[in-house]
């Protein structure tokens, strides 16, 4: 498994870039709190599908880019993403066997875990808002997970990404 040569790496990074750009699409003031977190969802998919290819370094990179775009401390977002990625790396064999519903719930929990850690670290180095709404994207993202999973699985099989 480890000796397997990498193939179609560009697909992974292109989907991540697409998710990051999608993250920036302007939304109205009320909808902004519910914006699904596509960058982390796409990252989680690739960690789950190719744990030997996409790991903690990629997670830190994606997290840092998202943090920079949001204007917060990039390391805080990166550490949140890394922590969730580690959980997936340890449990991916079990996660893959979950039903879609179970996986969606798991994604919501992983995202919520990442957000809470991120908020805690932000409070550590500055001011973090005490507003429970920061957890909303975990819920909407869980609803988007089957879509993201189906789309990325199709891409992975078509381009034989390994």
């Amino acid at each position: 498994m480890i000796a397997q040569p990498a193939n179609g790496r560009w697909v992974i990074w292109l989907t991540l870039l697409g998710a990051v750009v999608l993250h920036l699409v302007p939304l109205s003031e009320n909808l902004r709190w519910w914006r699904p977190d596509f960058p982390l969802l796409v990252l989680f998919y690739w960690v789950l599908a190719l744990p030997y290819r996409i790991g903690v370094f990629s997670a830190a990179l994606v997290g840092a880019v998202v943090g920079l775009l949001e204007g917060g401390p990039p390391s805080a977002v990166a550490l949140g993403a890394v922590a969730a990625t580690v959980i997936i790396l340890i449990t991916y064999q079990r996660l893959r066997l979950f039903t879609p519903l179970q996986q969606s719930i798991m994604m919501a929990l992983l995202l919520a875990f990442a957000y809470v850690l991120e908020r805690w670290l932000e409070g550590f180095v500055g001011v973090a808002q005490s507003d429970i709404r920061f957890l909303f994207p975990a819920v909407t993202s869980a609803f988007c997970w089957p879509l993201v999973r189906g789309l990325l699985r199709g891409l992975r099989r078509y381009y034989e990404v390994t």
């Binding site: 480890i2 990051v20 999608l22 920036l24 370094f57 830190a60 204007g71 390391s75 001011v127």
Partner: protein
């Protein structure tokens, strides 16, 4: 399998060290200045890409706009321009008069500020932050700390500058505070952001202070970040709780923080549009 687990341990350790160092050094460390500027430009470019469909759509709308509507608009703008020019003429005389009075009072004349128009190319996707991405950077003369103005008042300040892009923090952000004074009587205070686009909290106003609903708050010029005299907010509520030393004062920002496509960057070195009010 065991080898792989080990691998994860080492990688995780490296990432944790990297991120922890970044967490404390990223914002202020001098050695990272170039990296920060580069990061601002990269994020600015991503914002540009994300905003392209909306821009194309707007461009299409402009392309199909009718000739009569354009003529109508030109007429309206010409009239508006005339009115504003007339007002500016009076302003020049008043500024000169004011400078003479200030000289009589032995205080320095107010520095005339040059302003530059910047386009808002994006708003942060994180709703708990109030940050704008602007399309002007170091090459246009923008530096960190310059005030951002809207048509009606102070909007915020520049916090990160790249070569061609910059980030601005709005006055309503949770981490922002601006030194203000009441225009009516000169009482000083500090207006803090509350994380809500329509509210500022004025801190440490003693219960006996003369402050009323409707008072105009302007920048006081203390702390040397914002020049004196820019309108900031209007007081919307003053609550006096018996036994409390300070009044709870809320104010509404005057600038339309969530509307419009352009902002003014005040006091830049290389203005693309000079408005010299001290002629």
């Amino acid at each position: 399998m065991f080898l792989k687990q080990n691998h994860l341990g080492y990688r995780l350790f490296a990432v944790l060290v990297l991120c922890s160092v970044g967490l404390f050094w990223w914002r202020d460390h001098a050695a990272l200045g170039g990296v920060r500027a580069f990061a601002t430009d990269v994020t600015g470019s991503l914002y540009q890409i994300a905003g392209t469909p909306a821009r194309l759509w707007d461009g299409l709308g402009e392309f199909w706009v009718s000739r009569t509507a354009l003529q109508e608009q030109v007429r309206r703008l010409e009239q508006e321009n005339l009115v504003i020019k007339g007002q500016t003429q009076r302003l020049a005389a008043i500024m000169a008069e004011n400078a003479r009075y200030r000289a009589l009072l032995n205080s320095a004349a107010l520095v005339a500020n040059e302003v530059m128009v910047a386009e808002i190319i994006g708003v942060t996707p994180d709703p708990s932050r109030h940050i704008l991405m602007l399309d002007k950077g170091r090459s246009d003369g923008v530096t960190a700390g310059l005030p951002i103005l809207g048509a009606d008042g102070l909007m915020g300040q520049v916090i990160a500058v790249g070569e061609n892009h910059s980030q601005a923090l709005l006055i309503t952000d949770l981490t922002h505070a601006v030194p203000i004074q009441i225009n009516r009587n000169g009482v000083r205070g500090i207006a803090e952001g509350a994380g809500d686009l329509n509210t500022l909290i004025v801190r440490h106003i003693a219960a006996t202070t003369d402050i009323k609903v409707g008072d105009l708050l302007v920048t006081s010029g203390l702390a040397r970040r914002f020049p004196q005299g820019y309108p900031v907010a209007k007081v919307i509520s003053v609550e006096l709780a018996p036994g409390e030393a300070f009044a709870t004062v809320h104010a509404a920002p005057l600038a339309a923080l969530d509307k419009g496509k352009h902002v003014l960057v005040a006091g830049s070195d290389k203005p693309s549009l000079v408005v010299d009010t001290a002629q």
